[in-house]
Symmetry: C2
Subunit: 152 residues, 2 copies
């Protein structure tokens, strides 16, 4: 894993993930476990729905998007995770055969008021498909350790 700390981020920095193709069987399997709505688990019902065919659960899209983000090596042992997500939006369906990637951009940075060893990195996430259309987006504040010598 990398040695990235708070100091290694800057506003405007972009992390582009590799792509990942969604398959029909993965979509059906994830949704049957976590989001069993007809348009996610039943081909016939999905066809008859307003979506006109099977679409991936939004939770599946975000879980894959986050996995893709971790593959950019943006985080590492200095990450303490994120306390939440803001403004999560699903803009377009993800269908079998679609390939998505995550584009993460550093939007803001600030030091923690209460913990001198921590910095907060606000990251805007955009999930795009093979046509470069944005299928989902969200924002999260990532807690990152500062380098030891930065707060001594």
């Amino acid at each position: 894993m990398n040695d990235r700390h708070y100091e290694d981020f800057h506003v405007g920095q972009e992390f582009r993930s590799p792509g990942k193709t969604f398959t029909e069987s993965e979509i059906l399997e994830f949704a049957f476990k976590y989001d069993p709505q007809p348009f996610h688990i039943d081909l016939q019902a999905a066809e008859a729905s307003q979506y006109g065919g099977l679409i991936a659960s939004g939770w599946h899209v975000m879980a894959v998007a986050f996995r893709l983000f971790t593959m950019t090596d943006a985080l590492g042992p200095a990450s303490e995770g994120a306390p939440g997500i803001d403004d999560l939006r699903w803009h377009l369906p993800v269908r079998p055969g679609d390939t998505v990637r995550t584009v993460a951009t550093v939007e803001a940075m600030r030091l923690s008021a209460s913990r001198p060893d921590i910095g907060l990195v606000t990251i805007g996430y955009r999930v795009e498909n093979q046509k470069a259309e944005t299928v989902a987006s969200m924002r999260a504040v990532q807690f990152m350790h500062r380098r030891e010598n930065a707060h001594e």
Copy 2:
């Protein structure tokens, strides 16, 4: 499935799901696939982290929470899904052996301005553990079909 439409919701209505116990193996498996950060996939690293032991991926918690919500039968064929999520927060870790349930409360209702067949139901979700502590929360607008005679 049920026949619940927009008209069958009211502000203040509450849906309480059954509980679900998180196991160590599920936590490790989900995170290895979707959120492979050390404190989610490596017992030793998790022990040494600020969390003092393995914790479930926040995405895992929300996916299970949503599945639990679908088990309340609040939705049904009249649901068209949700366009996004607001104010998602992870308040406390979920650890192996913890049992969570979802408590969903109708916070607001309004008719669609553009589609006479649709109503928007704002739902506040609280995920609680076996001690009735809130481990996560979020808010979403659910698109629900109106009964046919309601907009004729």
